[in-house]
């Protein structure tokens, strides 16, 4: 008897059929949901590629390197928008990452009392809740006039640099960059704060226990331990910056005349799409689709690059 029943113990015979079905069903459900994400992405990519085929054959790679956007003459080049997208998102990250990570450190490393910290953290999160159209309005009516004297100063003093070579007259790339900073700062801060809080307290103790200064512990132990989480937050922020439409459209000036200058009006791919899709037809639609494809590929490229950077960074640490 015992010999017979031994192996049978584990054959799941006793579990009710419904239980097994639920198990299997759940597995298929998760598989289906996961594939859905991939399918949606693929669908979007195919649609955009299909839509842009006409423009790709008409303008080829010159589309990427010319800045002549002329719906009347049916000539399209997206250099201005591509330059604007890259410059606004990259520079806003350059400003927002140190600020955001710095804020996150300030909010986690008992520098100020907990109560004050919680209030500050809440305020940072509220910043993320402001609708972008409101930020856009604020940028037009408050920030840009306030900034103008500083930007003019940059022009008069550093005007010999191509990036400051035009006289600021109102909307432009510089205010767009700053409004992007305001928009992505809470994302970076919130995610960096969470990653820092997840660093095990034992690691902190280890660092302080061998006589590390607060500075040394933060820079050499705590930040490296949180770097992959922080990098994830930065990627999210970059995605937001590249794709942000409303606030940028309101303050960037929507000009397709190429200029190196950050003080001049410019354009980004997203704001160009938002502005022109309504009244576009024929080749222009296809050209806009082409621009959208470029945006998608840019995002993809940046993501792959970021994965690589994160892996390098955490390799150094482990």
């Amino acid at each position: 008897m015992r010999l017979d029943s031994g192996p049978d113990l584990f054959t799941l015979r006793r579990r009710p059929v419904s239980d097994k079905l639920a198990d299997r069903g759940f597995r298929w459900l998760t598989v289906a949901l996961a594939s859905l994400v991939g399918l949606v992405l693929l669908g979007i990519l195919l649609t955009v590629m299909g839509g842009s085929r006409q423009a790709i054959s008409a303008y080829g790679l010159a589309f990427l390197t010319t800045s002549n956007w002329d719906p009347v003459g049916d000539q399209y080049g997206a250099l201005t928008a591509i330059y604007g997208t890259i410059v606004t998102s990259a520079l806003s990250l350059v400003i927002a990452v140190p600020l955001g990570v710095g804020t996150a450190i300030f909010l986690t490393e008992n520098i100020i009392p907990t109560k004050l910290r919680d209030i500050l953290a809440l305020m940072v999160e509220l910043l993320a809740a402001i609708p972008s159209v409101v930020l856009g309005l604020w940028a037009i009516f408050v920030m840009e006039p306030f900034l103008r004297p500083f930007l003019s100063f940059l022009y008069t003093r550093l005007g010999w640099l191509p990036v400051f070579s035009t006289d600021p007259q109102g909307p432009g790339m510089a205010p767009a960059i700053l409004i992007l900073v305001v928009m992505i700062l809470p994302i970076i801060t919130a995610i960096a704060r969470d990653s820092l809080l997840q660093v095990p307290p034992e690691l902190r103790q280890a660092a302080y226990g061998i006589g590390t200064t607060r500075w040394g512990a933060i820079l050499q132990v705590i930040l490296p331990a949180a770097v992959s989480g922080i990098a994830g937050g930065v990627m999210l922020a970059l995605g937001r910056a590249m794709g942000e439409t409303m606030a940028v459209t309101m303050i960037i000036g929507n000009s397709n005349n190429f200029s190196w200058s950050l003080l001049a009006p410019g354009n980004t791919i997203s704001s160009m799409l938002a502005n022109q899709f309504g009244e576009a037809d024929g080749n222009q639609v296809s050209a806009l689709m082409y621009a959208a494809l470029v945006l998608m590929l840019l995002t993809l490229l940046v993501n792959v690059l970021a994965q690589w950077v994160v892996r390098r960074l955490s390799l150094k640490y482990t």
């Binding site: 008992n110 009392p113 907990t114 095990p200 034992e202 690691l203 902190r204 103790q205 280890a206 660092a207 302080y208 226990g209 061998i210 006589g211 590390t212 200064t213 040394g216 050499q220 132990v221 331990a225 640490y317 482990t318």
Partner: protein, 274 residues
């Protein structure tokens, strides 16, 4: 010995042999008082063990010895902690410097997620060590009795070691900053008997050059490794609701385990506690 410490009987030690001295120390977390009225003279070059029931404030007192409590918000200290006569909590004392002189090993092994070599070199480097790093790494690992197990894989992550090896790595890391005192908070609580034995042997070795304070729940361990033993206990006090930790008795280890002067100590060491 201070006259205000009635239960202390290490009358042989003179002032110069005393490494750390607690004078009427009381520690609170916010409004919650953890320990009070601790008087203790920890002799230099010896092993001092803290024993006592859970929650009586052993770790709290231990952390007060190198100002690790500074990292806990709301933790305040009354009284004085003297290190060779100098008040560790005086205004102009740098807590970072204190922790470099008085190193700490924690209950849970906590190596940095770096290579074994880097785990040792990191602390030495931030402490301004200028000599031969390879030599220091080897010397520290040897002192912590883990050189033979790690010499072929110094480039591997410290977190890939077993728990007992990690703990010895952490001890090596503390040894590498060349402190005068090493504080250990239940260093063997997560370890098997063999690793425990290795660490105890190592403590015997280390006490030739360091003063060691160790918290342990293992009576046999206290007997095996320590010269002096402090028995902490929790007592209900008239002036507050809850209980508060205090130092019941502090004496040479033999005396604590064979002829304690307090009934509570007798009960605890003979297992009749509670």
């Amino acid at each position: 010995m201070t006259s205000s410490s009635p239960t202390t009987s290490a009358s042989s030690s003179s002032q110069s042999d005393i490494c750390l001295s607690l004078e009427n120390v009381g520690i609170s977390y916010g409004t919650n008082e953890a320990v009070r009225n601790v008087f203790m003279d920890i002799p230099k070059g010896q092993v001092t063990a803290f024993i006592g029931p859970s929650g009586c404030g052993k770790s709290t007192v231990l952390r007060a010895l190198n100002r690790m409590n500074d990292l806990i918000e709301g933790c305040t200290l009354k009284g004085r902690v003297l290190f060779h006569g100098q008040d560790l909590y005086a205004r102009d004392v740098d807590a970072v410097e204190v922790r470099r002189r008085i190193g700490m090993v924690f209950q849970k092994p906590n190596p940095f997620p770096k290579s074994i070599y880097e785990n040792i070199a990191f602390g030495a480097r931030i402490n301004g060590y200028k000599g031969d790093m390879d030599e220091l790494v080897e010397r520290s690992l040897r002192k912590a009795a883990i050189w033979d197990e790690t010499k072929d894989k110094l480039k591997q992550s410290g977190c890939a070691l077993s728990g007992g090896q990690q703990q010895r790595l952490c001890i090596a890391r503390t040894v590498a900053i060349e402190p005068e005192v090493i504080l250990m908070d239940e260093p063997c609580s997560a370890l098997d008997p063999i690793s425990t034995l290795k660490i105890e042997e190592m403590i015997h070795e280390l006490k030739k050059s360091y003063t060691i304070v160790i918290v342990t729940h293992n009576m046999q361990q206290a007997v095996r490794v320590s010269d002096m033993t402090g028995f902490f206990n929790v007592q209900a006090k008239a002036d507050i609701d809850g209980k508060v930790g205090c130092l019941e008795e502090f004496a040479p280890t033999e005396q604590i385990f064979n002829a304690p002067s307090q009934q509570a100590t007798q009960d605890y060491v003979s297992g009749r506690f509670g």
